[in-house]
């Protein structure tokens, strides 16, 4: 009976893929809608994942294979939701490709956008060649493109770019950049063992299991230097190297260092392309632009709107395991909703 029930999943990133698999197992017909050509979201662009440095490809492959081999899951790529209207007990959805779907429930897994680092002009992204972002570095690790300098001697990582920054309009912490920076610092140090690697941080938020171990390893094994203080500005000297000015709040002094490469840890912000969907569904957002949950502790996957569920980073920055768990709980919540069960 459930087989007839369509569930629309907006976004085929890790949360969407995982939820589709679970919902299909429960006997529903999930329909994934993805704006990009390829499903997988940001996982497509990442090389390896913290803390164990598993290959992102493999994780994605496992997520995808479960979906692709399932005849009950439909997936529309390169399309987005153009119009969505609430009917009595369902939603009428029109995709940009003209496909019309009647869905019994809608799961929002729209994820996040990486903060546009060029908005922090003082760090010089888009102005100085040698300033790149975490995503650029990851893409280079993956074998795409190249980094702007052959053999960097001095590399800096700037934490909290567009996170915990009221002037950039983002007060929230993006949660995963600290550990990503440590991971990337170790990885780049392994590639350029002679380079000096600095991390400029405000606090190191090593909240997850094994994260602290990575941090210690980075210091002890790899000799990565951690400087507590924000980078104030970056400029270019005559040789085209970067002059980074920062404050060392532990030493209580301003510091100035010349670097060959600077990596900006761009944080997570609300997905700009989902604005129209949120608006059509009248979903309420918090000040940070992420979706509100109706009950963040016991019922985190539901929304104040009937038949609308949320999972993953669309409700705030999250790690991949958290996202996967939320997708699973969302599937459970949808099951309960469609079988008129109460929690």
């Amino acid at each position: 009976m459930n087989r007839k029930k369509n569930i629309l999943i907006a976004g085929a990133g890790p949360a969407g893929l995982e939820a589709a698999y679970r919902l299909s197992m429960m006997g529903f017909s999930p329909i994934l809608v993805e704006k990009e050509e390829m499903p997988g979201g940001h996982l497509n662009k990442w090389d390896r994942l913290f803390p164990e440095r598993e290959a992102a490809d493999e994780i994605l492959e496992r997520l995808l294979s479960r979906v692709k081999n399932d005849v009950n899951i439909k997936i529309f790529t390169s399309s987005y939701i153009e119009q969505i209207n609430e009917l009595n007990d369902s939603y009428n959805v029109i995709l940009s490709t003209g496909v019309t779907i009647i869905a019994e429930a809608v799961l929002i897994t729209t994820g996040f956008d990486l903060f546009n680092a060029s908005r922090k002009e003082e760090y010089g992204y888009g102005i100085y060649e040698r300033v790149i972002t975490n995503a650029d570095l990851e893409s280079w690790f993956k074998g795409n493109g190249k980094i702007p300098v052959e053999n960097p001697q001095s590399i800096g990582f700037v934490h909290c770019v567009g996170s915990r920054d009221e002037k950039a309009g983002n007060r929230h912490c993006s949660k995963v950049c600290c550990v990503t920076a440590v991971k990337q610092a170790i990885e780049i140090k392994e590639i350029f063992p002679h380079a000096t690697v600095y991390c400029f941080y405000m606090d190191l938020r090593m909240f997850g299991r094994h994260y602290e171990d990575m941090y210690l390893e980075a210091q002890q094994k790899h000799g990565i230097r951690f400087i507590r203080g924000r980078v104030s500005e970056v400029s270019e000297n005559k040789e085209g190297r970067l002059v980074v000015k920062a404050e060392d709040t532990l030493a209580g002094k301003p510091v100035k260092a010349t670097m060959d490469l600077l990596v900006l840890m761009a944080g997570m912000t609300r997905p700009a392309s989902s604005a129209s969907l949120y608006e059509q569904l009248d979903l309420s957002m918090d000040e940070d632009g992420f979706l509100r949950q109706s009950d963040a502790i016991l019922n985190g996957q539901s929304n104040h709107r009937k038949g609308i569920f949320v999972a993953g980073a669309c409700t705030g920055p999250k790690t991949l395991p958290d996202t996967i768990h939320e997708a699973d709980s969302a599937a459970m919540a949808i099951y309960e909703y469609l079988n008129r069960m109460t929690v």
Binding site: E122, E233, P254
Partner: protein, 609 residues
Amino acid sequence: MKERIIIGFDSFVIPFMVGMIFILAYCIIGLVRIICRLEPSDRKRLFISLVTPKTILKNIRDIICDCLLHVKIFRRNLMLGYMHASIAFGWFMLIVIGHIEVWLYTPHRQGLLYYPVFFRYFVKETNHTLKGAFFFFLMDLFLLMVLSGIGIAMFKRIRSSIVGMRRTTRASLTDTIAMYALWAIFPLRLLAESFTAGISGGGFLTKPMYWLFHNFLSKDYHILPTWWAYSIALGIFFFMLPFSRYMHIPTEAVLIVFRNAGIKIRHPRKGYSELQIYSCSSCGICIDACPMVTHKKNIKYSSVYFMRFLRRKNRKKTREIADKCLMCGKCVAICPVGVDSCELKRKFRNADKALPARNYDLLEVSEEKKPAEKDKILYYAGCMTQLTPSIYKSMEKILGAAGADYEFLDREGGICCGRPLLLSGNEEAAAELIRKNTEAIMNSGAGTLLLSCPICYKVFRENYDLKGIRIMHHTVYIDNLIKEGKISVKNSGKNLVYHDPCELGRGSGIYDEPRNTISMIGNLKEAAENRKSSICCGGSLGSLTLSSEDRAAVTKHSLKNLTYMNPEEIITACPLCLKTFGTYSEIPVKDIATAVAGNITCKNKKDKE
């Protein structure tokens, strides 16, 4: 002409006289106190200005234009201007003509303060003589003028939009009492004079009124009580004057004299500042102007409330508003009285601030003194420009294309200009930075100091003593380069809107040069409110406590104002505005230097080679 009362006195003048003597004594004592509080140098300046013919003329002109005719308000809104001018000028003329009448008809009564006011009661006249008809006509005309103004004022209380004001100030209790007294004065005068018109004569207004009332008020019992009421209304108004907003009427004229003498605000509350405080008429024009008033709840942040709390010595609320203010200066620019509330706020921030001991050892300046070269340009990017490298890179390109001989003062790091410290009220620390920067600039030997940041520009012009060095903002420099043909630019054909940064426009009076330049590289569009009325971007360093949500609201409001003509790009000339708009703007925002550098044609470079 005949005097009706031989002794020239009636007991109904007592309320008026009590009020009059009270207010005169209050004003004289207040004025003496303020003069005593002035710094000796300021006092000297004041006395010199009082005997300088040029300043005297300026004082007279300003007092007539501002206090009587309210020219500034007329420019803003005709109806509002008429309301103020009719009451002020009409009332002034009633007083003047009253005195002329006394002088002409009853010279022996000169010096009696009440005589011109209650002239119609004491003196009988007929309009059959030319002189009588003339004065009756004039007095009735000006009374009618005042009454029309009062009528508008009453209607304004119900619908302020008729005088072009969206929001007005909430009146305090004393303001309300004084206001009702003021409203009562002239209708009562009309009634009193009309009732007496049968005996003393009247003009085109009072005589018909007399005939009208005469039909049903046959006895004369109501005459004296009406004169009593008129006198009491005047007495109450005078008595309430020092405790109400109407104190601006006598104070404003004194403020004009002090301001023209060149006296500066030195203390947030005392001396000259007291004149500023009492000159605020609480009109509330600054409420609509204040960029922070994007929501109704923020009305309390506008300058009118700052002045009110400062006057009431409410330290807590005064401090809150003083710290909140963006210091964009729009309220000062449009204030009809010219109250410099921003400077008062700045002084207030400066007062009794407990500051930690500071260490200035990190401020390093090269000791080397270079020979003076008149043509050399010293480029000081400033902190905010350092944080927006697109601007100084563009400036380097422009300077290169113009073949200018320049030195980049703070390429490898520099010292802040000091304005943020000044704005936050840390004058001492600012003085230290100013001293160090002055040393560095004087050592460079350059003839021109070129700046990209209006915040720096303002402080270098106003607080630095850089003898012999020309201080220029890049908007002016670029405009000169184009005019002199040192660089040539192509017109991109794009629709560009120019945002007047507060510190460059209202702060330094530069409006035209950037507009000239922009019309060379595209089609200049104007914002809905521009130039003197331009709206702060919301990123101002001026505010110490404004929340980021409120700032965001200011920015969005300002962007809406800028994009009113649907421009393709926003051009500004301040790195801080650039940064602030960049966060929320849907269309590209550029500094004027970047826009020019992008449209520079290489022709001149070749010529040089």
